[in-house]
């Protein structure tokens, strides 16, 4: 249902849900359940559920549709898809939204043969994931968690209310019980920020500057864990400092490729990976004739000491005073060093040395979309990880802790496929569509350096777009840039509404026709969703999905794991209800289509279906490598091995017996310093998480970035296009940096003085909540929130209707005044607003009459004619929160309804009108006779 993946117990009575509750044994939620989870009854009971496959028989966006049988639907899809698979598989763009099946959908795309695949990470959190994986081999949320039991100081950046909701709520309560300090850096004081000991109202997009200024204070004062940096990071590694040298900025290496460091005893370079040398963190040494090299730490220190990162300069842009910045730095250092934790837990390090105890630096950090949804988010997130490292606060008691399968190498070894020669008609792609480039030769570009993916991920425009760029697919497919596609196949992605930038324009692109042929610019659109979302009318073929309670799902270690810091875990969901309509689980449909299309991975040698039992069969019997499948628990023919083992036909039953999850607790000697813990690394290798037991050296200095920068400076065979050369040179900096969000430099910030951001409330899961009769009573419309003083300056009172204008468009909604918001920021709840007629809501539903969608204001391209996406220049992460706006009071006659409004969408065939009254549960009452009295 949602990306937190809590365990839920479903109680049925007479085939209906009587009650949903948290599974007390489940590793994620430990018995609690949020509002969304508890409202699952109404998710199941929704009148917006699609009922049968649909074929469009009128114009796009208008309909009408007709109901068809599954055989016909799958036949149409097979016809479209087999034609392009045989000729040019890239003409399929397959993008999925909010599902948990990426380990399967990515594999499916690869079997089809198209590189044009991604899930929604490109517009969600790829800045977090990428910066984390390239820096510490892990990241926040699924990849790691704060040590709630031991931290003394918890610093949280830009976490929207809906993120990781149950674990964070539990953790914060625990922190407060223990008296630890909780600081929330966030422009808005709601949700978690409301209960923080200290709320730091920051200007959106400036968090990186705050972090760099804090780092500068620590470095200047020498309150840095040098021993930790020397042992666990590349801080001592020597960086070639010779601007004309082709390897300028790369690490100096010996003949065997080992990085070098200054050996403190000899003053000469030596293999930095040896355990027996004593290294320096500053200084310079000549590594070859006239070529000098300096330790990475010195370069980091110099960067942070630049005037641009002084507390005084940072104060002017962040809105956080210089004294305040210094105090935060002092508090972090005091917590890390004066409250050091020592746990008498023996462990063995990577070099085989036995230690009697572990040292903890009880400072934990966490960050999410407020950091990642900016065009400077990659570097901001990297700066946060570097701040953690300066304090020695990674995977030690009281700090951020990895969750299996992390830590992984920085970055993981997987490379994206899709280069010339890797796409073959009628055959699978030569690898995975997504991965982690480490040099320009890994880019998915043609011989001239032009993009080869429809979203331009892994091109010079977004070289490390590790999660793809779903937000650019429709715009690029419409423009035929870099090439036209034939079929856009999407799952659970509301691209004609709240999942796109520039929504009004996106709707036009979906319906635009080529005047020469009269055909749609995007010829075929296949869409799968369980509900009548805004996207349904824009598809040609609808493959209706089941609800989450009617299908199998798999929360795999290959995908977005549910492990804890103490050990790995994975889970399944199994169907508890049988659909009362003609719908099929999306994953079963993909397997069926794959068989019809002849995917080798889905067929036996004799050409029969390899997984006749559908997705449940695939979950159990598919192996990625021998002995490694989607689920780690109860493998082997007897079900007695965990991690590696042959497929076990009873595996799903074993999961069901165990509350639908598997978890394993690692011994305490494997709980800490896992990037350098020999016992842990040996186990991780056995589990297939890492390929070697080598220490995972954490990266304060990122060499992959240098390789792109050197290309931009003319070195090497792979060269960026001239137009992007300066951009690569600037942003592929191996050291953390802060720069204003890209569009701010171009947009006239004086004309648009306010920042505009969104967050989702805790009680809503993306757009899927508004059809929920209970959740929409909590958030049935969304106002535009702004600071009282900001409103007063423009004569705006609480409840007034106001216009919000950006360089891209304007919207109208109702103002709500508050104190708990940064003065230059306005904000609203995301994905509450609905288009009239969608989700089978009545036409007077407040979501449509009063709800506002900021998406209309956000351009998908940066200003200028270059068609550069409004994204982070390193990762391609959508820069939703770079939005700048101005506001004005609406005229009296304009009050009353939100703008813009669109023609109401027709109700898809097969759906009944929504009921006028819900008496859910009266049939469960012991009285058994409905009580209904109507008084005058």
């Amino acid at each position: 249902m949602c990306a937190c993946r809590c365990g839920v117990r479903v109680h049925l009575r007479d085939g209906k849900i009587r009650y949903l509750e948290g599974n007390p044994d489940h590793p994620v939620n430990k018995g609690v359940l949020c509002a969304k989870g508890s409202a699952g009854i109404m998710q199941q009971n929704s009148p917006a559920k699609l009922r049968k496959p649909l074929k469009r028989i009128g114009p796009r966006g208008v309909g009408p549709f007709e109901e068809i049988e599954w055989d016909e639907a799958l036949g149409i899809a097979t016809k479209w898809l087999s034609d392009i698979r045989k000729t040019d598989p890239r003409k399929l763009a397959f993008f999925t939204g909010r599902d948990q099946s990426q380990a399967f959908t990515g594999w499916w795309a690869s079997q089809f043969g198209t590189p044009n695949y991604a899930a929604h990470g490109g517009f969600c959190s790829v800045n977090m994931a990428t910066a984390g994986l390239y820096t510490i081999g892990g990241s926040f949320w699924e990849f790691g968690e704060p040590d709630w039991e031991r931290t003394r100081y918890f610093l949280m950046f830009g976490v929207a209310e809906d993120h990781d909701s149950n674990p964070i709520k539990k953790g914060i309560a625990r922190l407060k019980e223990r008296g630890a300090k909780f600081v929330s850096v966030n422009p808005v004081r709601t949700g978690y920020s409301a209960v923080a000991d200290e709320w730091v109202p920051i200007r959106p997009g400036s968090d990186g500057l705050l972090v760099m200024a804090i780092a500068r204070e620590l470095i200047a004062a020498g309150r840095v864990d040098y021993d930790w940096l020397a042992r666990y990071t590349n801080a001592p590694w020597l960086v070639i400092d010779a601007p004309k040298h082709p390897d300028h900025g790369s690490f100096a290496r010996d003949a065997d490729g080992n990085p070098l460091a200054i050996d403190g005893r000899t003053g000469k370079p030596a293999n930095a990976l040896r355990s027996d040398i004593r290294v320096k963190l500053t200084g310079a040494v000549e590594i070859e004739d006239g070529v000098m090299a300096r330790p990475a730490y010195e370069l980091l220190a110099r960067r942070c000491m630049e005037t641009a990162y002084s507390a005084e300069v940072a104060a002017t842009r962040t809105g956080v005073s210089a004294d305040h910045i210094r105090r935060l730095a002092r508090e972090l250092a005091d917590a890390a060093f004066k409250e050091e934790i020592r746990i008498e837990q023996p462990w063995t390090d990577w070099a085989g040395r036995r230690h009697t105890h572990v040292v903890g630096r009880p400072v934990a950090m966490h960050a999410m979309r407020g950091i990642s949804a900016h065009s400077n988010g990659f570097h901001t997130c990297r700066a946060i990880h570097i701040l953690q490292m300066l304090l020695g606060a990674i995977d030690c008691p009281g700090a951020f802790r990895y969750k299996a399968p992390f830590p992984r190498p920085c970055p993981p070894a997987l490379k994206p496929a899709g280069k010339p020669g890797e796409v073959t008609p009628g055959a699978p792609l030569a690898g995975s569509p997504l991965g982690f480039p480490t040099w320009p030769g890994d880019l998915i570009v043609d011989e001239k350096g032009a993009p080869r993916r429809i979203d331009k991920a892994f091109s010079w425009e977004a070289p490390i777009a590790a999660h793809g760029m779903m937000h650019m697919v429709i715009a690029n497919a419409h423009a035929g840039d870099p090439y036209p596609i034939d079929t856009l196949f999407m799952f659970m992605a509301n691209m004609s509404w709240n999942s796109s930038m520039n929504t009004s324009r996106t709707i036009e692109m979906l319906t635009d026709r080529d005047p020469a042929t009269g055909e749609y610019r995007i010829p075929h659109i296949i869409y799968s969703d369980a509900y009548a979302s805004e996207m349904v009318p824009y598809a040609d073929l609808i493959l209706p999905d089941t609800t989450y309670l009617e299908r199998h799902d798999c929360i795999s270690l290959f995908d977005r794991p549910i492990s804890s810091a103490e050990g790995p875990a994975d889970a399944i969901r199994h169907p508890v209800l049988t659909p009362d309509r003609d719908v099929r689980p999306f994953q079963d449909v993909l397997i069926d289509l794959g068989v019809r299309l002849g995917f080798p991975g889905l067929l036996t040698g004799e050409g029969a279906a390899r997984y006749p039992g559908g997705y449940a069969d695939y979950i159990v019997n598919h192996e990625r490598r021998p002995g490694l499948g989607l689920l780690a628990g109860w493998r082997g023919e007897n079900g007695d091995s965990h991690g590696r083992g042959a497929p076990n036909p009873d595996q799903i039953e074993r999961y069901k017996e165990n509350g639908s999850f598997w978890s394993m607790e690692l011994p305490p000697s494997m709980h800490w310093n896992r990037h350098a813990n020999a016992e842990y690394l040996a186990w991780a290798k056995d589990m297939g998480f890492v390929d070697t037991t080598d220490q995972i050296v954490l990266q304060i200095y990122s060499e992959p970035l240098v390789r792109f920068r050197q290309a931009a400076r003319g070195h090497g065979a792979h060269q960026p296009p001239a137009a992007l050369r300066d951009r690569i040179d600037t942003y592929f900096d191996p050291l953390p940096m802060w720069y204003p969000p890209l569009s701010h430099g171009a947009a006239d910030t004086a004309d648009y003085p306010l920042h505009a951001i969104t967050q989702r409330p805790m009680a809503m899961y993306h757009s899927w909540g508004s059809q929920n009769a209970w959740l929409r009573q909590i958030h049935g419309s969304n106002a535009i929130y702004l600071h009282r003083d900001t409103a007063a300056r423009q004569g705006i009172a609480d409840g007034d209707w106001i216009w919000v204008e950006s360089a891209n468009g304007q919207i109208k909604g109702q103002a709500r005044l508050m104190d708990g918001v940064e003065r230059n920021t306005i904000w609203t709840w995301n994905a509450i607003a609905k288009r009239k007629g969608a989700w089978n809501l009545e036409k007077d539903a407040t979501e449509a009459t009063k709800g506002v969608l900021f998406n209309h204001l956000i351009p998908e391209f940066l200003p200028g004619r270059a068609r550069l996406s409004n994204s982070d220049p390193v990762t391609g992460q959508a820069a939703w929160f770079d939005l700048r706006v101005r506001i004005r009071k609406a005229l009296p006659e304009e009050a009353g309804e939100a703008a813009p409004q669109f023609a109401p969408l027709p109700r898809p065939p097969g759906l009944d009108p929504a009921p006028d009254v819900l008496r859910y549960g009266e049939e469960f009452h012991p009285r058994k006779k409905p009580l209904r009295r109507t008084l005058p």
């Binding site: 508890s38 949700g191 409301a194 309150r223 021993d227 009573q777």
Partner: protein, 242 residues
Amino acid sequence: MTALPEETTKALGLVIDLDTCVGCHACAVNCKEWNTGGHSAPLTDEDPYGGDTVGVWFNRIHAFEVGEGDMGRTVHFPRSCLHCETPACVTVCPTGASYKREADGIVLVDEDLCIGCKLCSWACPYGAREYDHDAGVMKKCTLCIDRIYNENLPEAERVPACVSTCPAGARHFGDLSDPASAVSELVAARGGFDLMPELGMKPTNKYLPPRPRTNTRKEADSAGPMEQAGGFLGLLDRVFSR
């Protein structure tokens, strides 16, 4: 009109922690889903998909701001029946439908006796009563009597739905007449308070105030520079083991 018991054997109720409540509505929705099929079933929703939706909820969450500037805070405030010791909603009831139980102090409505006159909702100063227009009767929080005495449930789960689901651990259930109970001790330790005691309802439920913040902002901001640990220059001649 309706008499109250002279005393009750127990005083079952809730203790709600305003320090950790993040306003997530988990308790409100879990209450709704349990109770819509429970003792007071259904918790009707009228116009559930339209523009004028009115539903029955036994527990509602409010958010408001108090204080200004650095002293300002956002408070999330869950509101449900407080199962008062001297509840006006009972004494005002003309039919005996509203009553307070002698055994545990829980305030309930007997729907068969309720004539839907709504006097109780006028009398309750906390707005805790919920009129079901469709059924024509008053409904309210039952403290999940169909959970707390339900022997089909494991003992640990015999607590109100809102308590068992709260992710922030902000809701506690127990006997507030027993000074040795965990909830009474929590109230004593954290300075739990009555909501609007001046109204004389003697509410059983207690609220825990936000803890003092570990934030000494103004004074600390103007303190001198950070303690120096040798500074950057102190690093020049140092060597570190791997």
